[in-house]
């Protein structure tokens, strides 16, 4: 394992920012720390960087325990949330800063900086100041600056937070490609799950200073292992009660359930092939979302959210519909399971 945290604890004035945090990351991976704000993800990043000192626990980077290694000696590149570009230095001097501090010779610095400027696509902007750059350009400078001293590990704190939505998508892709072409182990922090899913090879879900789940995005999506992960990932909505829903009467030992739009099929009354496994509901709201239509349906007093294709017949608020629930995620205080619609299963066996 390339980067490893073992039982790391950190409290700020009695508030537990990190609570028994342990995880490990393989070399060359691009990992996303995902969690709501205040969950401790940035603290994890800063602890790795050496900007925060843990109360207990061990931090290993490349097999070496680095708890007592000062931040500047850990060989880490850090991209700050607001980039923290040196505002009285040009783009060139910003990128060159780390190398200048290391007292590398001038020719080497110039070559390395130009190489990085090419990498991040900022040719011709070397003599600009940060205030003359756009948000995306600033981020590229921050990225190049962090990479200049050839770090073993790159940490990025909310790298896309300060960029407008349109450029953000583009930059995500660019960042992912650039990092994977460099092969540098990277960890980034985000509160946006789309971003985490799109950019990361692996996601670590953080909540209240604890690691909830670690895995690749598809696995986390399909098999959330903690109640928090089940609720946090996807467009999940919590159901007040599930045992009255058709097909889920027999699942015992769980108090709550969450459901996601992709686990529901909404059809016009009479157009539902699995009517015996479906619930009746009333359309509350219909939202046009471009490539799909979001429908809010009231079923037994609970609001379910489902998607329909714009190609299908339009639904109007107040219209009675048939709602088929394929699966639910059931959870308790500490466990989660996937529950299939039992009637759907029975039906299949009969027909086959």
């Amino acid at each position: 394992m390339y980067v490893e945290l073992r039982q790391v604890d950190k409290a700020f004035k009695g508030y537990k920012a990190l609570d028994d945090v342990s995880f490990s990351i393989e070399k060359g991976k691009l990992v996303g720390l995902l969690g709501p704000s205040g969950s401790g993800k940035t603290t994890i990043l800063r602890t790795l960087a050496g900007l925060v000192h843990p109360d207990s626990g061990d931090i290993y980077i490349d097999g070496q325990r680095v708890n007592d290694v000062p931040a500047s000696k850990r060989g880490i590149g850090f991209v700050f949330q607001n980039y923290a570009l040196f505002r009285y230095m040009t783009v060139f001097d910003n990128i060159a800063f780390g190398l200048t501090v290391e007292k590398k010779d001038k020719a080497f610095i110039r070559e390395r900086v130009n190489q990085l400027v090419d990498l991040v696509g900022l040719q011709g902007l070397q003599s600009r100041y940060p205030h003359q750059l756009s948000g995306g350009q600033k981020q590229r400078v921050a990225f190049a600056r962090a990479l200049a001293p050839n770090p073993h590990l790159l940490l990025l704190d909310e790298p896309f937070a300060a960029i407008d939505a349109k450029i953000r998508k583009e930059l995500r892709l660019w960042l992912r490609e650039t990092i994977s072409s460099l092969g540098i182990t990277s960890i980034f922090v985000t509160h946006d799950q789309d971003e985490a899913v799109e950019v990361a090879d692996e996601i670590i879900i953080v909540n209240r200073g604890r690691i909830e789940q670690k895995g690749n995005p598809a696995d986390i999506y399909k098999e959330p292992s903690t109640p928090f992960a089940a609720q946090f990932i996807g467009e999940s909505s919590v159901l007040a009660h599930y045992r009255t829903l058709k097909g889920f009467e027999s699942y015992e030992g769980y108090d709550n359930a969450v459901i996601r739009p992709e686990l529901i099929q909404i059809a016009k009354l009479g157009k539902q092939p699995y009517a015996h496994a479906s619930e009746e509901g009333t359309v509350e709201d219909v939202f046009f979302r471009g490539s799909l239509i979001e429908v809010h349906v009231n079923v037994q007093g609970m609001r379910l959210i489902g998607y329909r294709s714009p190609e299908e017949a339009a639904l109007a608020p107040g219209e009675p519909v048939s709602v088929l629930i394929y699966r639910l995620y059931l959870y308790n205080e500490d466990k989660v399971r996937l529950a299939e619609n039992a009637r759907l299963k029975d039906e299949n066996t009969v027909f086959i």
């Binding site: 923290a84 570009l85 040196f86 501090v101």
Partner: protein, 299 residues
């Protein structure tokens, strides 16, 4: 109150045509502006420009010879030297203090920080005379440091060190006060980034902090100089008015004035006036440049 609920006039029910109303309003606005500007100019003329002109006119009233005699008088020159010495000492001391204090207060979190920030302002709040008295009480014949000073043959009160100390005291907050808000606004992100890349504190200070605060620093130094040159109250108490020894320029002027040597007093005053004008011009240049740069670099 006769009418507790006055009904505001309904704009639609006002008989006057709207355009005419607007014209009157605009005319009223113009008049108000002219009156205010005139008042401002008049006030500045009477309170600031007239006295300054009077000083210069009075200084040269009895001809150039009297003027040059007054300002080349050995006591005047001694006083000027002492003033310059005290000013230099105050500026150096308070600049160093201001740099350290602003760094400490803006970059670290510690208990009592707020209190320390408040303490820095004491010289602003306290009357200079009291400041002078404090030094007398500490270092004077009745003060608690007197025995120690006596034993080591040091003289503070009624001597040059006292004058310098008093000047330092009254100009204490200028530099720190300028720098603290600037540095707090800058935050510590950039410093942190630089430290992560292995930069030492001196490199960080030189390359990241100093460029940010340099105009503020200069501005603080200029204000500090201006105040130190003109300091009267605190210095007056501790100096003892020993001619040629502990007299600063303002004290010298006061002595000349009380001896009815009005022309000489005003002649020497004109030195301070000239210094003040130079400082004012410098101040404006620095302020202008600083604003311009801040505008450019801070988003």
């Amino acid at each position: 109150m006769s009418d507790p609920n006055p009904i505001p006039p309904n704009p639609a029910s006002i008989p006057q045509p709207a355009a005419a109303a607007r014209n009157t309003a605009r005319a009223q606005g113009r008049t108000a502006r002219l009156v205010l500007i005139a008042l401002g100019v008049l006030f500045i003329l009477v309170m600031l420009v007239l006295p300054l002109i009077t000083v210069c006119v009075y200084a040269l009233k009895q001809g150039w010879d009297v003027f040059s005699n007054a300002i080349t008088d050995p006591y005047a020159i001694k006083a000027l030297q002492l003033t310059l010495l005290a000013t230099a000492a105050a500026v150096i001391c308070n600049t160093v203090f201001g740099l350290f204090a602003s760094w400490t207060i803006s970059k670290f979190h510690f208990r009592g920080k707020q209190f320390l920030t408040t303490l820095i302002d004491i010289p602003f709040a306290i009357s200079p005379v009291i400041a002078g008295l404090v030094f007398i009480l500490v270092f004077g014949r009745i003060g608690w440091a007197y025995d120690f000073l006596q034993a080591h043959d040091l003289k503070v009160v009624f001597a040059v060190p006292g004058v310098i100390l008093a000047t330092i005291f009254v100009t204490f907050p200028f530099v720190a006060r300028e720098l603290i808000p600037l540095m707090q606004a800058q935050g510590s992100d950039e410093e942190e980034a630089a430290a992560l890349m292995g930069a030492g504190w001196w490199t960080i200070y030189r390359k990241i902090t100093l460029p940010h605060i340099k105009w503020g620093l200069l501005y603080g130094i200029i204000l500090c100089t201006a105040r130190a040159l003109g300091e009267f109250g605190a210095v007056s108490v501790v100096s003892g008015h020993l001619r040629g020894k502990t007299n600063t320029l303002p004290l010298h002027i006061e002595i000349l004035f009380s001896e009815f040597q009005l022309t000489a007093a005003f002649a020497v005053s004109s030195i301070l006036v000239a210094a003040a004008i130079i400082i004012l011009i410098l101040r404006n240049i620095v302020e202008f440049k600083g604003r311009k740069e801040e505008h450019e670099h801070v988003r």
